[in-house]
Symmetry: C2
Subunit: 421 residues, 2 copies
Amino acid sequence: MADTLVTEMNALGEAAKSAARAIREASTETKKKALLAAAAAIRASKAAILAANGEDMARAKDNGLSGSMLDRLMLDEKRVEAMAKGIEEIAALPDPVGRELARWSRPNGLDIARVATPIGVIGIIYESRPNVTADAAALCLKSGNAVILRGGSESVKSSHSILAAIQDGLAAAGLPKEIVQLVPTTDRAAVGLLLKGLSGAVDLIIPRGGKSLVARVQDEARVPVLAHLEGICHTYIHPSADAEKARAIVVNAKMRRTGVCGSTETLLIDRGVAPELTLAVLNDLTAKACEIRGDDSIRALYPAAKPATEEDWRTEYLDAIISVKVVDGVEAAIAHIEHYGSHHTDAIITEDANVAARFLNGIDSAIVIWNASTQFADGGEFGMGAEIGIGTGKMHARGPVGVEQLTTFKYMLRGTGQIRG
Amino acid sequence: MADTLVTEMNALGEAAKSAARAIREASTETKKKALLAAAAAIRASKAAILAANGEDMARAKDNGLSGSMLDRLMLDEKRVEAMAKGIEEIAALPDPVGRELARWSRPNGLDIARVATPIGVIGIIYESRPNVTADAAALCLKSGNAVILRGGSESVKSSHSILAAIQDGLAAAGLPKEIVQLVPTTDRAAVGLLLKGLSGAVDLIIPRGGKSLVARVQDEARVPVLAHLEGICHTYIHPSADAEKARAIVVNAKMRRTGVCGSTETLLIDRGVAPELTLAVLNDLTAKACEIRGDDSIRALYPAAKPATEEDWRTEYLDAIISVKVVDGVEAAIAHIEHYGSHHTDAIITEDANVAARFLNGIDSAIVIWNASTQFADGGEFGMGAEIGIGTGKMHARGPVGVEQLTTFKYMLRGTGQIRG
């Protein structure tokens, strides 16, 4: 690897670390001012951002990118406005830094407080959507962190024009622009250096993208990773389910949007569910153009279903396809989900509170749901504001990762001369 | 690497994963019963444990282990009793699993609760002290986790005899013995496999040992690590400090026990502090046989001090040595600590509440202290009960890692048929 790249990346890390000290101690008002100024700058730079994006789009077309990739890369007036609005919404959130999370006194009079603090320097690696540049920067800024962004190489010009607007916002509030930086090269080796922590400068890496990106990050990272793996989400219909709720929830859980991580990929139907309800649910899905892949029991009842293979139970379709399996009781449903699921979001539909409690306790997923759609797996729907993803690991934060989850804590001990015996 | 080792270690991982499901759902009473039975079994097995330890000690002496290593390895009646008592104390702690950490309702009626859950399978890698086998097993059991322990090769017989007693306790409560397992080989390659997560079975690694162990773990681990790095702790005396408090706190912070991570290694004295107080503090330390290594200002005042080198400001002595530096004001103290410290525990002695607030906010350490000894950096002193270490990273848990910190959480959403618009 070229020494110059190492030097350049370490300098980026040092600058971020130094900027982290400034944003860590910035007041709520200063951070708000920077965010509102950044939103205004994005609106004011609309023409420049769209022009930069046009260059990215032209290059991407030349390189033969697929239609869905091009759609993700594309910015228009509406999307630029949505970015600015998103930053304003983050500006309006309560400041997550400085919250007193707990406080107690010891018999010796020592007063102990657990107080929320920023994490420090966060590296965010993402793919083609240029709007992540704005979202991620705003979430990190609000939570008092410095951020090093590494977007997809296809969106490099768009990202730089968005970065310029955000750095204008920082400058307007008197904050160093190095609070938000972009990796200045598309050299893939730069990502490797970022993942190794830039000589101790990086406190956390958040990958935001597909399975192969997350796998590379988890393999190469030498600093903590807050990863969003896939969402193989389940909805289980129990015999005591209310038929109308079941029909409405299943269609919504699968088909409201098929490309989001909280969409249901596998439907588990209890053998005790009335065949009329099973048929109604499958017909509802088919009417919405959803492909059904069923096990033998389902295909016996609903011959139009394609046969589900072992692979189907492990697949996040992100598409209008659902795998459907008949299970014998709540324990079998739990066992299936624990075996095949991704510990993201799983739901039960039942009117039996005891069975619901069993399911909520028995499933070890970030989000477990009783009688509602799995598509509620979203920071906004939780009332947490914008999120950077849904954590599927066990440590630090599970579920929606919003500004509060981008903080850590420290203990403040206040004494009057206590010494330890 | 031998295929048999891979197979054997993966089987260990699978067994732990399966046992984790059992302990995750065990009731508070069942876990308590297992812990009390384990404590009783340790007392009942005292002769066997001491005999096993005798074998370890004989081998260690043959291998020429140092006196302090031998002392760490050695068990006697008192130490076995302390192990049993430690387990009973952990049994008496409140159950950290199932705590409702937060609960709120959304405008659509969706009820959202954040509930504490076990982490899953924890790998703990430690060095010579065989009592860690008992402590770590009990902390994991109480917090609903399965654990794979890997002790030092020199304590292998002691650890196995302690394990047998703990597994008796699990059996007495009707729990699978695989909730607590020991890596069955001293092959170092087994540690490498554990650090890679045993094909997805391991959720967290906790290294408990010296710098080189932690460095190896951080370099090789492909699963999250909760690490305790060194404690380069500071005490800063501000000009407004109360002289009596300052003298009592500094001697306690350095000399109460020099081998603990919360002992002060560097004393920062403000240039505004009266020379009489500085001299009194240094004389107090010298009277306790503490070696003083000072900067030029300190040596001008106190010629008996040895010169401190750049290396001294970065050194965790864990011994009766202290480095002492004169700083110009609270900002210089903060800058020194941020530059040289290890983000463990740092204290200020001052009667000025504004200066104290500045210090508590400005220092980014797990524990920041006003007018008390840094030796309060301890889970027991926090009222948290036993701890497995002091986290010096930023993610998941900072400071004392007790049973609450060995849990994660999930969200439970309770609805009445809500679908997402």
